[in-house]
């Protein structure tokens, strides 16, 4: 198999093959039309949704738009600050969407939206036991990632930087350690600001990237969806192509033998 054959390089999560290594978060799009166009441009096959109290004023059906796009839904537990709330929300999402996949978020602080590690681990274990395919949004902590895998999570999703911050990948060393140890897919989640961040995540060895705000809040979401898609594909190819080592000094690319002497 050639490394340039992306079609033969699927992402496999819990036995399910996905042709795209870009997961799309749906938060922040200004309209369902904009969301639908961005899904198409992104090539994503796995797309997040959330649950909130019903709003009689709401117009248009998000689920209909996502079903028409042919994507698999990945419900999240955004807004949950306790393991109890996250577990109940995941169970409600299973009822609402007919999927046992969940992007598990248990948030510890509303300014940083950083995960609450002990509560995250507790909720993950409970949901795995209840038969869920758990994809936890986690800190860039290699030990926590290992613990999440140990309790049966189907992937780990470390942050590059806080949700919606667009600061990119703040700790590439930790992300490499997470990838080095993990036996499940590593999905870079949160912090991507632009295509190069997504490419870097993939070059570090991440298996996929989840991206919402960088696309939905870009001036042109469709163009950014395509840019980040290409970033993910470029980074993946580069990671598999085997980059040259970094050197302190130059190494000539033109042969030094046979240089004319004037």
């Amino acid at each position: 198999m050639s490394v340039t054959d992306t079609a033969a390089d699927p992402l496999t999560i819990s036995g399910r093959e996905l042709g795209s290594r870009l997961l799309l978060g749906t938060g922040g799009f200004r309209s369902l039309e904009s969301l639908a166009a961005a899904i198409e441009a992104s090539g994503s096959e796995l797309v997040t949704v959330a649950l909130r109290r019903i709003d009689p004023e709401a117009r248009g059906s998000l689920v209909d738009v996502l079903d028409a796009a042919g994507v698999q839904l990945l419900p999240n537990t955004a807004g949950c600050f306790t393991a109890r709330d996250a577990v109940l929300t995941a169970k409600l999402a299973r009822e609402a969407f007919g999927t046992d996949w969940v992007k598990l978020e248990v948030i510890g602080d509303d300014r940083t939206l950083l995960p609450d590690a002990p509560a995250l681990l507790e909720a993950a274990e409970e949901l795995v036991d209840a038969g869920f395919v758990v994809l936890p949004y986690t800190n860039d902590d290699p030990i926590l990632a290992r613990r999440l895998e140990d309790v049966g999570c189907a992937a780990v999703m470390p942050l590059g930087s806080p949700i919606g911050s667009g600061m990119g990948l703040l700790n590439t060393y930790n992300l490499r350690l997470i990838r080095e140890h993990a036996g499940v897919p590593v999905i870079l989640d949160a912090g991507v600001g632009t295509a190069s961040d997504a490419a870097l995540a993939m070059e570090l060895g991440c298996d996929a990237v989840l991206c919402a705000s960088a696309i939905s809040r870009a001036e042109d979401p469709v163009a950014m969806a395509k840019a980040i898609r290409l970033g993910v594909e470029g980074g993946r190819l580069a990671a598999r192509a085997g980059r040259i080592p970094r050197r302190l000094f130059a190494q000539a690319s033109t042969p030094e033998d046979g240089v004319a002497r004037f």
Partner: protein, 68 residues
């Protein structure tokens, strides 16, 4: 009787079912993307028709929104 629907008091006839409440909220029959919890427990959609709400029940009716 009075229940708490999504955090707000609402008067209902005694014996109102979850399904009847959803009808009153104009939530359509199939209702993919909708979920209901009563007193912090999931009510599976197969039980919406038969689950009657009690006085003081804390009911959450949730729907799909963009997020994540």
């Amino acid at each position: 009787m009075t229940i708490l629907l999504n955090g707000e008091a609402r008067d209902l006839a005694p014996g109102t079912t979850v399904r009847a409440l959803l009808d009153a909220l104009d939530v359509p029959g199939g209702a993919r993307g909708v979920a209901v919890a009563v007193d912090a427990e999931v009510v599976p959609r197969g039980e919406w028709e038969t689950t009657e709400l009690d006085e003081g029940a804390r009911v959450e009716v949730l729907r799909a929104i963009q997020g994540g």
